[in-house]
């Protein structure tokens, strides 16, 4: 499954040993720079740099990474087209002679800006999700004073997602071999049976998990192993000068537009 592999790469990549706070700080700050930029230049630079880091530094196979990028890319591209056609009221750039549709300059610029921001922000998020295991992210959230109960539920949820995906896929295949999805009506019925059974199984699993945990002295809290490598002054210096450079870029390229 697709989700499995994201998780897999998060555990097996070249940046796994790097300090988690450093990675989170880097990704979030860069994402923020991409967000506040008013020209498409900085987000695109960020997108290229991040992709470079993900493929060459974290050594994520490029084929997998490109596949991961297709959803946001298609979505961003559709947004771009939609905005170019419907969100401009300035000088027309290109007139389509059917339905009196026109692409205007300001619509085109706005669409391209949003598209580049989506790609910039998304690559930062991809960096985070491909280089850091989810459980380590939770330990970062703990230092941000997110209530412990939320993190615990989230952590258990994360574990169960994979259990149920596996179970759901098995059930789906079993139904498929019995022609459960051969017509529209039977698809609905099968899907309903699958989902409700999954819920009931989930419930039983939850009760059993609680019993198992309680018999092993569960008193209402889980402990996370939170050992981290040192960040190092040099790395911090590089990080902040990089972000300062981006900020300067955002300021300087403020009024730039593609056309």
């Amino acid at each position: 499954m697709f989700e499995n592999t994201v998780d897999n790469y998060a555990h097996h990549n070249n940046l796994k040993g790097a300090n988690i706070y450093f990675k989170v700080l880097f990704a979030i700050l860069t994402m923020f720079m991409s967000l506040i930029s008013t020209s498409p230049i900085i987000p695109i630079i960020i997108a290229v740099l991040m992709s470079f880091l993900i493929i060459f530094k974290a050594k994520i196979p490029w084929k997998f990474y490109l596949k991961f990028l297709t959803i946001p890319f298609i979505f961003g591209f559709l947004t771009f087209i939609f905005m170019a056609f419907f969100f401009g009221f300035g000088t027309p750039l290109w007139e389509l002679n059917i339905f009196s549709l026109t692409v205007t300059i300001d619509g085109f610029n706005l669409g391209f800006l949003v598209f580049s921001r989506i790609m910039g922000g998304f690559t930062c998020m991809a960096f985070l999700s491909l280089t850091t295991p989810m459980t380590e992210l939770f330990s970062v959230l703990e230092t941000f004073k997110i209530p412990k109960i939320v993190l615990e539920i989230a952590m258990m949820m994360y574990r169960y997602i994979f259990v149920f995906l596996g179970e759901g896929i098995n059930m789906y295949h079993a139904q498929q071999t019995r022609l459960g999805y051969h017509s529209f009506k039977s698809s609905y019925k099968s899907m309903g049976i699958l989902a409700s059974n999954l819920f009931i199984r989930t419930w039983i699993k939850g009760e059993n998990a609680y019993l198992a945990m309680e018999s092993r002295c569960y008193n209402g809290s889980l402990h996370i192993n939170n050992y981290q490598n040192k960040i190092g002054t040099k790395n911090l210096f590089i990080l902040f000068s990089f972000e300062a450079l981006l900020l300067a870029g955002v300021y300087l390229s403020g009024n730039f537009t593609l056309i």
Partner: protein
Amino acid sequence: MHIMEGFLPWQWCLFWYMVAIPVVAYGVIQIKKITNEHPESKPLLAVSGAFVFVLSSLKLPSVTGSCSHPTGNGLGAVLFGPAVASVLGAIVLVFQALLLAHGGLTTLGANIFSMGIVGPLAAWLIYKGVIRVGWSSSMGIFLAAVAGNWLTYVTTATQLSLAFPLPTFGEAFVKFMLIFAYTQIPLAIAEGLLTVVIFDYILKLRPDILEKLKVITPQDKNLEEAV
């Protein structure tokens, strides 16, 4: 529909975070209360959240020919109440952003508001209303799921047109709504039907779970058995 990472200007990201955080915080307080009273409910909440996630990753055949997925927020809200559903929804949205590339971190606040707060709240209110009027719980769950889905989209369209009010808020709103309407009117009905099927099966196989969650009263169960 999730708002994609980087889609909203930063001012709006901040604004929706401010709106969403108090509600989620209230939900967290509720969860704390529940888990203090019944410690065994903690793993149950976790598995239910996982269930919502898995449900939202199942593909659903829809009339328009495209494939979409149920949001599961109607079912979650009816089962657990809107406050708890908002916390579970928030966690699920983080996972969807990081694992499936749906939604994003900066737009998380806006997504929580539309999918974790408005949708479930509407679904829950409608379910309670329908039950009070005295219609069957299947009808209630159908209307709740449909309304939850539609209101989620209306909220998303509102958020998008507030962020891009070109030329005015009203015109942008009409544009976004028109685009969503083509896919969402049939999709919401499809989700409603599917939710009814799921709910009926749970009611048939394990009515005790629903009773424990106070979704149905013992009286309903007897009615169901009589039918």
